[in-house]
């Protein structure tokens, strides 16, 4: 479980995050949603320690990450997997080498076991046939899947995904979302996912926090999201006509209780 306690972050006097409190539970896909520029990536970077908050605490199972020694941080980081907005694969390495990299650095397994583990992870994301390719030769969706395989190579406890399906078509997005959800449940990981894709929100939003201009405006699940009264959230969700119609139907059903 990861807890955030009143996180504040500013860049050059401009406040990007303001008093963010949240809890992310294990075995669940926790979503952070919000408009582009609302501060999702900055928040995630604060959680994983790529940025340090100006104020506030990030607790991993009750232990404050910010105050950990370098050695403790290092050990904790081997428990983390992250998928970046742009996949961030090592472009000097092949797909297999990318997935093997964390194992090369941190596992004590033999070479054969490392290869087997990497192949297992690649199989998990259905990419066994792309093993010898370079990241540059893959499509965006395939790169994201390699990034997932790399992130789960060391069997992490925590999985962070920054917009795992930005720039992907709806069908591929769905595949990626389901993959992340399945892995999360399978290994009882604590997953945190940044997204502004409403399909993901309605698909895997088991716990959602909504960020608007650096403030947490709402939290709940995909089931309460249509009933939310928060004005900013409604503006965000119902930006598209389609969802507005879905909401109308949803309300219509409510008003006419089944006979």
């Amino acid at each position: 479980m990861i807890e955030l306690k009143s996180i504040y972050k500013s860049f050059d006097g401009r406040e990007v995050l303001h008093d963010i409190n949240a809890q992310f539970e294990s075995g669940k896909t926790n979503l952070i949603i919000g408009q582009s520029g609302s501060g999702k990536t900055v928040l995630m970077k604060n959680i994983v320690g790529l940025l340090e908050p100006d104020k506030g605490e990030v607790l991993y199972h009750g232990r404050n990450f910010i105050q950990m020694s370098r050695r403790e941080k290092k050990r904790l980081r081997q428990e983390m997997g992250m998928i970046f907005q742009g996949a961030a694969l090592f472009d000097s390495m092949s797909v297999l080498e990318n997935v093997m990299f964390p194992l090369e650095m941190f596992s004590a397994d033999t070479y054969r076991d490392r290869v087997r583990r990497a192949k297992f992870c690649l199989d998990r994301v259905n990419l066994l046939d792309a093993i010898d390719k370079n990241p540059g030769e893959l499509s965006g969706g395939m790169q994201k899947r390699v990034a997932i395989a790399r992130a789960i190579a060391l069997n992490p406890q925590y999985l962070f995904c920054d917009e795992p399906n930005s720039g992907l078509d709806p069908k591929t997005s769905l595949v990626i979302d389901e993959l992340i959800h399945d892995i999360t449940v399978e290994y009882n990981m604590t997953s945190i996912i940044n997204t502004h894709d409403m399909n993901s929100v309605l698909g895997i939003g088991e716990s959602i926090i909504f960020i608007c201009e650096g403030r947490k405006e709402w939290m709940g699940t995909k089931d309460d999201i249509f009933d939310a009264t928060n004005e900013q959230l409604n503006k965000f969700i119902f930006a598209s006509d389609l969802l507005r119609k879905v909401k109308e139907e949803h309300e219509h059903e409510r008003k006419q209780p089944r006979q």
């Binding site: 970077k45 994983v48 790529l50 941080k73 290092k74 050990r75 904790l76 980081r77 081997q78 983390m80 997997g81 992250m82 970046f84 907005q85 742009g86 961030a88 694969l89 090592f90 472009d91 990299f101 964390p102 090369e104 650095m105 941190f106 060391l154 962070f160």
Partner: protein, 255 residues
């Protein structure tokens, strides 16, 4: 007070501080010796071996030109017959093969390192390393620094030989100087220490090139334009630092 004519005067000091902070991370024990050695060998090949061609080419030409200049401008009937060979050798050994060669390589290798690491920064590959718990500075920079420091003296030796070959080549082709005179001059009062001094200097220059350009790449902020700027900046800084270090090292080694 911090800004004069729009220039941040404290910036160089802050940069220097950041540079030493980064180098503190770079020189730490590699996490995995096996991975480090693999990277080290890879960098020796990609930074060193791939530069042999350009080193040989440039050295042959410079050796030829220095010899020609000496033959045309220094000789006169009352100069001894070893003058051309002697001066050519001294210039090649003392300055050209190490300092000038490294200035040229600062352009090739420095820009290469800065843009490679800079691209890794902007595409978040460095963040990915950090998240895994890898000391990204050590993982990326140490093999490059040590690899180039290992290869540079070898490149210098290649350069010296190619320069001497170039000098003889013009001698045979154009006949400005008689080859045996050149040979005599090349061997006249040869001081082995000059070769060592050149090699020692080149190791320092290699350190400057690899570490400074890695520093610029590592600290890129922004996109591809910033990567481009980092590689130009690194070449400029490396060149200035090499010239400055040359001054100091020459005083220390020869004075």
């Amino acid at each position: 007070m911090q800004q004069i004519n729009g220039m941040d005067i404290l910036r160089p000091i802050a940069q220097t501080g950041k540079y030493f902070a980064m180098m503190g991370h770079v020189f730490s024990r590699p996490e995995r010796m096996r991975v480090f050695l693999k990277q080290y060998v890879k960098e020796m090949v990609s930074l060193g071996t791939s530069s042999i061609g350009i080193v040989l080419l440039i050295s042959v030409f410079i050796g030829a030109v220095i010899m020609m200049q000496m033959a045309l401008n220094v000789t006169s009937p009352w100069m001894p017959r070893f003058a051309v060979g002697y001066t050519t050798r001294e210039i090649l050994l003392l300055e050209f093969s190490s300092s000038v060669m490294c200035l040229i390589l600062a352009g090739k290798v420095g820009a290469n390192i800065a843009s490679e690491i800079g691209t890794m920064r902007v595409t978040q590959q460095i963040d990915a390393l950090e998240i895994m718990g890898v000391n990204s500075a050590a993982y990326l920079v140490l093999p490059k620094v040590l690899g180039l420091m290992t290869m540079m003296p070898i490149l210098v030796i290649f350069g010296i030989f190619a320069g001497i070959f170039g000098a003889f080549l013009t001698c045979w082709v154009s006949g400005i100087v008689i080859a045996s005179n050149l040979e005599f001059g090349m061997q006249y009062q040869f001081d082995e220490w000059h070769v060592w001094a050149s090699l020692i200097k080149s190791v320092f220059f290699a350190y400057i090139i690899a570490s400074v350009s890695a520093f610029f790449g590592y600290n890129v902020e922004g996109g591809s334009a910033a990567v481009g700027k980092a590689s130009t900046d690194s070449v400029v800084s490396c060149s200035v630092l090499i010239l400055f270090a040359d001054l100091v090292l020459t005083q220390l080694l020869m004075g």
